[in-house]
């Protein structure tokens, strides 16, 4: 079973609620779910749609082909009917259309008979449940769990009435369900909470804001200060103050907001104060598309900041990856006293996927803070020269008689302004030296597909899901194909790429940008050449189907 339902309508028509209920009902019935959300940047009107794909096997991409369109307006049919499979159906209210090609139902009429126009979507939901063979009882249970008590009852009635409106088409078996249903921003936020982030500040910017909102929801219970700051400049500077004082701190934004943080990023570099910053990339440049996806900030994130300083950049590949990598980022930031930058993408921030619950016992907390015994000199040296470049980091207020001075000027071991030429060179080298130990912790990209593939895909971040589906399907067809998916991307790991790239006939770069930024890194750091590229930059994410199609043309 592999079934895709598109639910479309105008902003404000309540498609989010309907999708939220349906995806959860399907999940609780034991199926794998992948919900792709396509929004326009408006609060009312426009055309929004979401696609719920479900299967008895894990799904990692949305599907281009549709089995059903549940349309809240005529537009939703017009926009998407070309993507319907031959036996695909359209379900809509009979006021929208009574075209014989469609399944038109008295949704509004039924809702009216319950004295509540607003429950028409639940009538439709009931009809779809019966059509797909999903039990009414489960539907009612999910409504009860998800809806506010005062609207539950009327929606329950609507669901029941709807259930009668359409005949059963499928009989699908109940399967065991132990999964969670989660998106990338929720997973990122949970990773930060689990890692003991005590200070999150930021300024709202789609598609980053829901991280702040999620953390805020648990802030009091987890003792986290969540703070909406006057601007992103203030946010990163504030987070650095908190981190200097010894708590784990994070901020995040989307491209424009991250751009405002750049000066303070350079500050983090020279004061060697740990910080985790994420950039939820949207389509750029400038304001671009607020609610659409892209991977065009890779070069920006790697180089952002004046002067030379060490940072680590991690691209998040899936919600699961977002959870574990975010928690790991805090350890790496603390250990190396550097900014660790997380890159996510609008697509990843929003899609919902089923997954086994995260294993919190796998998260470790490694603070690497200095204690009294680490301070061997009479006057503490915040920037002591050491072999590996990492100076013992004391936080203020811990040891009587010792003070901690950090400084954005070039400074000496004590943290005092120092323009001495030798000291400058030694200090630059000290900071830079940390890269040697950091490199040993860098994780090589994930590899999927056939061993020593003739066709090697290279990609990074959230294209993972679609690439994975495509590679699996093409392998089943007997093609020799594999993919390297970059997570840790700076410092740029090259071992696996060199090993596989040397034997591949083709190296195909797949990215959501127009210039091939990963390809340019490969050119810079290896002797390999990408032979082909699939670049998409219309703001819409690649699907597994689309990659298969485009690879079919290439290979």
């Amino acid at each position: 079973m592999d079934y895709t339902i598109l639910i479309g309508g105008a902003a404000g028509q309540g498609i989010d609620t309907t999708v939220g209920l349906l995806e959860r009902i399907i999940k609780r019935y034991g199926y794998h779910v992948f919900t792709y959300k396509n929004f326009m940047s408006m609060v009312r009107g426009g055309h929004n749609f979401m696609q719920i794909r479900f299967s008895d096997k894990p799904v990692t991409s949305y599907s281009t082909k549709l089995d059903m369109i549940y349309a809240f307006n005529q537009e939703s049919v017009e926009f998407h009917k070309d993507r319907l499979k031959e036996d695909g159906v359209v379900i809509l209210d009979k006021n929208i259309s009574t075209d014989e090609d469609y399944i038109y139902l008295p949704l509004v009429e039924t809702a009216k008979s319950l004295n509540n126009d607003k429950v028409a979507s639940s009538v439709g939901l009931g009809a779809i449940l019966n059509y797909l063979g999903l039990p009414l009882e489960l539907g009612k249970k999910v409504l009860e769990d998800e809806l506010a008590p005062k609207i539950f009852e009327v929606n329950r009635q609507a669901l029941e009435r709807g259930y009668e409106l359409l005949e059963r088409k499928y009989n699908i078996d109940k399967r065991e369900d132990n999964n969670i249903l989660i998106n990338g921003n929720q997973a990122l936020a949970l990773g930060a909470i689990a890692a003991g982030c005590k200070y999150y500040c930021g300024y709202p910017m789609t598609p980053s804001s829901s991280v702040m909102t999620y953390i805020a929801k648990h802030a009091n219970e987890m003792r986290i200060v969540v703070d909406q700051i006057e601007d992103e400049v203030g946010a990163l500077n504030m987070a650095l103050g908190a981190s200097y004082a010894g708590v784990r701190a994070m901020t995040g934004s989307s491209g424009g907001g991250f751009a405002l943080m750049v000066e303070a990023l350079s500050l983090a570099g020279i004061i060697e104060t740990p910080i985790v910053v994420f950039n939820a990339q949207r389509t750029g440049p400038a304001t671009g598309f607020a609610t659409r996806t892209e991977q065009a900030d890779l070069r920006f994130m790697i180089h952002a900041g004046h002067g030379e300083f060490l940072r680590m950049v991690i691209a998040l590949r899936s919600p699961e990856d977002a959870f574990y990598q975010t928690a790991r980022a805090f350890n790496l930031a603390d250990k190396y006293q550097i900014p660790v930058l997380l890159m996510t993408e609008e697509y990843l921030t929003n899609y919902n996927i089923t997954h086994e619950p995260f294993d919190f016992s796998k998260i470790t907390i490694e603070r690497h803070l200095a204690t009294e015994s680490d301070v061997t000199e009479e006057r503490y040296k915040r920037y002591k020269f050491t072999e590996n470049g990492i100076s013992p980091r004391l936080i203020p207020g811990q040891i009587k008689g010792q003070v901690v001075l950090v400084d954005s000027h070039e400074h000496n071991e004590y943290g005092n302004i120092d323009e001495d030429a030798d000291n400058r060179v030694k200090m630059v080298d000290k900071r830079a030296r940390k890269i040697d130990s950091l490199k040993e912790e860098i994780q090589e990209p994930w590899f999927i597909g056939s061993d020593s593939p003739e066709n090697l895909i290279v990609c990074w971040g959230a294209t993972y899901g679609a690439v994975k589906e495509a590679v699996n399907r093409l392998n089943e067809k007997g093609l020799s194909i594999g993919a390297l998916i970059y997570g840790d991307i700076w410092p740029f790991p090259t071992n696996k790429l060199n090993e596989l790239g040397r034997n591949a006939k083709r190296i195909i770069d797949i990215e959501h940008n127009s210039t091939g930024q990963l390809e340019s890194l490969i050119k810079e750091f290896t002797d390999l050449k990408c032979t082909d590229r699939i670049l998409k930059y219309d703001g819409r994410p690649l699907s597994g189907d689309e990659i298969v199609q485009r690879l079919d043309l290439l290979i």
Binding site: R28, D177, N179, I180, L181, Q186, L190, I193, A194, A195, G196, K198, Y199, H218, N220, M222, V225, D227, I229, E230, D231, V233, G234, A235, N237, M238, A239, L240, G241, A242, S243, Y244, A245, G246, V247, A249, L267, I271, A327, P357, F358, F360, S361, I363, I365, I395, P396, G397, K400, G401, Q402, V403, V404, L405, D407, S408, H409, G415, N416, I417
Partner: protein, 282 residues
């Protein structure tokens, strides 16, 4: 005395008002018995902002215009630290103007000392947000054409609960204002007149002497409207002292877990504490 602050050699110009401000700061902290490891001086960039290098407290010498944000971050992370934000008039009212406005609204328990020499010192004499209109500078050859910021009126408008002005030329008075600001529970704004002997030939030590007067003992600093009038006084004499002081709820205390808990920095971190949130996703 058990509580003593070490001093280090400054690179300020001879005769600079910053020396006296530093001496007053040292004396204020020592008299309040706040030990160096419990005090943090957070600054931006400028001559004033070099303070953490010349007095042995904890220091965060950050970016130009960005002294307040890290100061706030430090205080929320560790409520036991005494946080003093110090910076120039350009740093605070120019580059950092937005942070200034919102720091007042936020009302975190920190003291903010602005070394107001009415000029950009470090960058050699350009007009600052408090330079008088018409004053010729090393850049504004025809004189400054902008209306000066009125810092105290601004902070009063934004709702600051502690607003004061000092003068580096009267140390005893300044020490007292600093102590009041540090012990005030909330954001305390202290603007300090400071002659810049090199770049501001108008607002000299003499000029400040001639143009300022002390608020009398009977002055009622809880009267908001009167304070606002005082904050606007300029040509006919500028008041020194506490213009306004009232009790206000602080931002820090609005977090129950900060007010009634241990400092955040001492929190025990355990990933398993968050595992319960998985249930939201079933």
């Amino acid at each position: 005395m058990t509580c003593e602050y070490k001093l280090y050699n400054p690179t300020w110009c001879p005769g600079c008002g910053n020396y006296m401000i530093r001496d007053a700061l040292k004396q204020a902290l020592e008299e309040l018995d706040i030990e160096p490891h419990n005090a943090v001086i957070v600054t931006g960039i400028g001559q004033a902002a070099k303070m953490p290098h010349y007095i042995g407290a904890n220091g965060f010498n950050g970016l130009h215009g960005r002294a307040l944000p890290p100061g706030i971050g430090v205080k929320l992370a560790n409520k036991e630290l005494t946080v003093i934000v110090e910076s120039g008039d350009g740093d605070t009212y120019g580059e950092g103007g937005n942070h200034f406005i919102h720091a007042i609204r936020r009302n975190v328990n920190i003291a903010h000392f602005v070394h107001d020499n009415q000029i950009y010192g470090l960058t050699k004499g350009q007009g600052s947000p408090t330079t008088a209109r018409g004053q010729k500078t090393t850049l504004q050859f025809d004189g400054v054409k902008l209306e000066p910021v009125k810092p105290l009126a601004l902070s009063l408008t934004m709702g600051a609960g502690f607003v004061a002005r000092g003068f580096s030329g009267d140390k005893a008075h300044l020490v007292n204002l600093m102590k009041e600001a540090i012990t005030y529970n909330g954001y305390a704004h202290l603007d300090i007149f400071q002659p810049c002997v090199v770049w501001n030939k108008i607002n000299t030590f003499r000029w400040y002497k001639d143009h300022t007067y002390y608020l009398p003992d009977y002055y009622d600093y809880t009267d908001y409207e009167n304070a606002y009038k005082k904050a606007l006084e300029w040509d006919d004499g500028i008041p020194l002292g506490i213009l306004y002081k009232v009790e206000k709820d602080t931002y820090d205390d609005s977090f129950d877990f900060i007010k009634n808990g241990e400092p955040l920095v001492d929190a025990e971190l355990n990933p398993m504490d968050a595992e319960k949130y998985m249930k939201e996703f079933y």
